[in-house]
Amino acid sequence: AQSVTQLDSHVSVSEGTPVLLRCNYSSSYSPSLFWYVQHPNKGLQLLLKYTSAATLVKGINGFEAEFKKSETSFHLTKPSAHMSDAAEYFCVVTPHSGNTGKLIFGQGTTLQVKP
């Protein structure tokens, strides 16, 4: 079965410092991996996606993630946090092979950005 584990339920950083949100996946097949963001009282928005092309994926708002098959990881990073980055972040997997495209979400990481 496919799944994702977000290693931190809550991450706090200061504005201007780097962000690291950790995600490990489990999949029997070559997965597609995503990061979604959910700002308070707003809908889910796609940050970036990996679909077996380049292992370093760049997304919106300066975020990027690197797919590491040997470590089964897909960590999200940003060099410098902004106050507007405070939100809930979800690592997501959708498996190939007979897949319906349904998304399997991690438990989420709340990012707090302190001034």
């Binding site: 796609l46 996606k49 897949n99 319906t100 495209g101 349904k102 998304l103 991690g106």
Partner: protein, 116 residues
Amino acid sequence: GAGVSQSPSNKVTEKGKDVELRCDPISGHTALYWYRQSLGQGLEFLIYFQGNSAPDKSGLPSDRFSAERTGGSVSTLTIQRTQQEDSAVYLCASSLDGGDSPYEQYFGPGTRLTVT
């Protein structure tokens, strides 16, 4: 253009009553998904539509839950005899295609259901 819309935005109902939640996907999107977001269970898949058919209903938690899609567009999620554990935010998403296609799923704002 218009995004995915859902109605109502909030619904409070008494235990045992039936509720209907509506989703209007982005025009031209053939794939439609329902998810549920709750404190205890996180975000979980409920059902997937391709056109008007539902090839994957594996996430529906019980037979009290059903969904339909008509005209390849609007979808309705119905919960019969609601229970308190049904309280959650119900999210709808649509995409150009489903299956193995890596198309982005666009999410609606959700319907917050509270069962008292």
